[in-house]
Symmetry: C2
Subunit: 473 residues, 2 copies
Amino acid sequence: MEKERNFSEWFDRVLLEAEVLDTRYPVKGFTVYRGWGYRIVRAVARILEEKLEERGHEPMLFPVVIPEDAFKREAEHIRGFEAEVFWITRGGDTELPRKLLLRPTSETAIYPLFKYWIRSHADLPLKMHQTVTIYRYETKATRPLYRAREFLWNEAHTAHATPEDAERQVREGVEIYDQVFQRLGLSYLILRRPDFDKFAGAVYSIAFDAWNPDGKVNQIGTVHNLGDNFAKAFEITYEDESGDQRLVHQTCYGMGLGRVLACIIAQHGDDHGLVLPPEVAPIQVVIVPIPYKGYEEKLKDYCSEVLKVIQGGGLRVLLDDSEKMRPGEKFYHWEMFGVPVRVEAGPKEVEGRLVTLVRRDTLERVRVPLDETVQRIWALFDEIMENLRRRSRKALEERVSEALNLEELRRGIEERKIVKVNWCGDQDCALKIKEEVGGEVRGYRYDVEEEPSGPCIICGKAAEKIVYVSRTY
Amino acid sequence: MEKERNFSEWFDRVLLEAEVLDTRYPVKGFTVYRGWGYRIVRAVARILEEKLEERGHEPMLFPVVIPEDAFKREAEHIRGFEAEVFWITRGGDTELPRKLLLRPTSETAIYPLFKYWIRSHADLPLKMHQTVTIYRYETKATRPLYRAREFLWNEAHTAHATPEDAERQVREGVEIYDQVFQRLGLSYLILRRPDFDKFAGAVYSIAFDAWNPDGKVNQIGTVHNLGDNFAKAFEITYEDESGDQRLVHQTCYGMGLGRVLACIIAQHGDDHGLVLPPEVAPIQVVIVPIPYKGYEEKLKDYCSEVLKVIQGGGLRVLLDDSEKMRPGEKFYHWEMFGVPVRVEAGPKEVEGRLVTLVRRDTLERVRVPLDETVQRIWALFDEIMENLRRRSRKALEERVSEALNLEELRRGIEERKIVKVNWCGDQDCALKIKEEVGGEVRGYRYDVEEEPSGPCIICGKAAEKIVYVSRTY
């Protein structure tokens, strides 16, 4: 199994063997989250939800259906999504009087209610979020977790009295996402998308583009400043302190939870399978007894004791004492599932009241006294996260290159790099890049100021920005 | 606001004022969960999910769409649901080659995958659950939380090697639901439905019918023994220990989370608004300062201290120090939201290092020392739950009556009772009851053996069962 050499095959095999997804659901683009995969993605969702709620976003749940007329109120938005919505036209035997669509995103479901909830400046800012599935009738090839027709995400929507407050909210959104991704040890570029690639209806869009072993970036989150575009379309106004009616300013941000899961798998995984951040691992520690003739009873008692000790440390732990597999097979099995720490106990451990700890990320082993086990496992978790974070950051750095001409750019893209180039800001030049090298202009750094180092790589005119070019999902 | 005299109006007002739901979503039968309501229902879902997972149900997530051919594989099932499914017929501009429907329940989505996952007896029992929204194109009048076209529920599905193990699983399902409902202080009858009213495709169905102030019972959960009906339709077989292929035996159970929320509101609420079980209250304790001239600074400091003490006790607490409302208005506000305990602090409390605790269920007040506050609040929570449970049980007992003839039955139904009658087991007699009195035969007790006390109330023949008759949502 060769993650680097054949990422696509490796990824499919991990999804199947680690029981992340089942792709055999009989509708194209729709897949099933199995127990292990769903527990991971649920843990990610809960980290995000907690952070959003700490920062004042109320959890809500809006309907999956949107009426056609609401969907069509914002002109740019409808142009951006119309080609890829699923339409519900019938209920039972009856033609529906008004067609409904499955939400491809929820602006047009949520904002008609914002209109009711917002009366005065005292109602602002209004901040909400929901974790839901969304639906896009993708015509491109679908790919489990990366590009599906149904996908699990969290979306937040906010409304503000002033453009300044909406700007501040954009920064807060970026910060929250950054914190969640950092907790998971992921690496990515935070890019402001070029205008021609912004969210349909937005003033501007910021995206988190994560590196992927196959060289296509994986957009795991986006944050949008909507200005008053939707406020105009949905007539969302408030009474300001002097009694005037004003339009609100809005932001929204979405995190693709399936794509974050893909990113965890792709960035941290290795040829043995998943490597999970301990915080989102359904099982954090697995105990594998190493049987030895004459030690059966003692070993059994000792492993029960080890289990109790580790449970007492607040860890999610499993004692795998089944007799269906040999210890070596169990190692292989739980490595595939990405369990962060394996605890081995055999005769030597029993005699010395020790355990052997094996960390999943490096497979390094260390033998420690039983009464230090809990503390050592927690310390190992920190080390594992530090290592995953460092490895992922290094991989990103190695993947970013620069190009001063089309030839260098082409070579970079072929080598699965994310390539920095000087760009004049003209959409034609971006299209030319796509035609010539297959990579897309993803945008310029949001968090770092970068000055162009030369003229536009295509037209030779003065460059406006350094932009990042790569293939993409 | 009069819960007993005009339940329907009271209920709508609580939904709106306590920010449980917003019913103004512009599609009939679809409503929006607002922050307060969503937090409650999410807490209920998590209690259930935890219990299911403790008992070995793996959390999963299946697609919302089901292909027409899978849906039509089990003959009874399709007959039961066909009239009320939403059909997706188009994607973008294209007519879909195969129609899809929104799940009205997920048997026909899940069982094709069970076929892949089950090979041998070692794969059994297989137990999974998911918390999702389901869709039914109701032609009857819709009612928020009670009867909607989209509703939030949790469904569990299991497969077993033997009929006996499926029977055992039915009992486990009933036990889990019973435990969850007891934690919430709810009262209900556990009834085995008459054959003509069982789940489409089941061998038999058990339901939890909760009392409701308006006399219509609220079905908050159902547990079904599916026998091998779906196993036959979906060809789900396993290899037994002697190498033979055998059909699995299945069960499934669903809890309507929106209906459980309705039940919490309806059974525990009072004329002041919601009364929430502390475990699912988004805010468990609210601190309201009682200002007094000259005490402003001291009170502020003291309330901050009280807040810290209560937070330190692991409680979800809010200090409501806003100046927009007077204390009396705050009392009214947080009573509407059902916050279990209010903490008042004024000059006397500051001087004596005391707080006044007011419990929501009885509005009784008690003054306690600050350093006993946390412990007293936890004790109050227990008392509140005991009181809610007792009150609800008493209400159920008072609502159940008996009838030996049609006239008594009619009077009972008019008086909003759940009425016990002797029944011969014949569907015609049940239909006659419905025609004559508007109540439905809901079934006989599952958890208690009850012997008929006379002949069938309709035909006068020997009675088979004592059944419960009531109006219903």
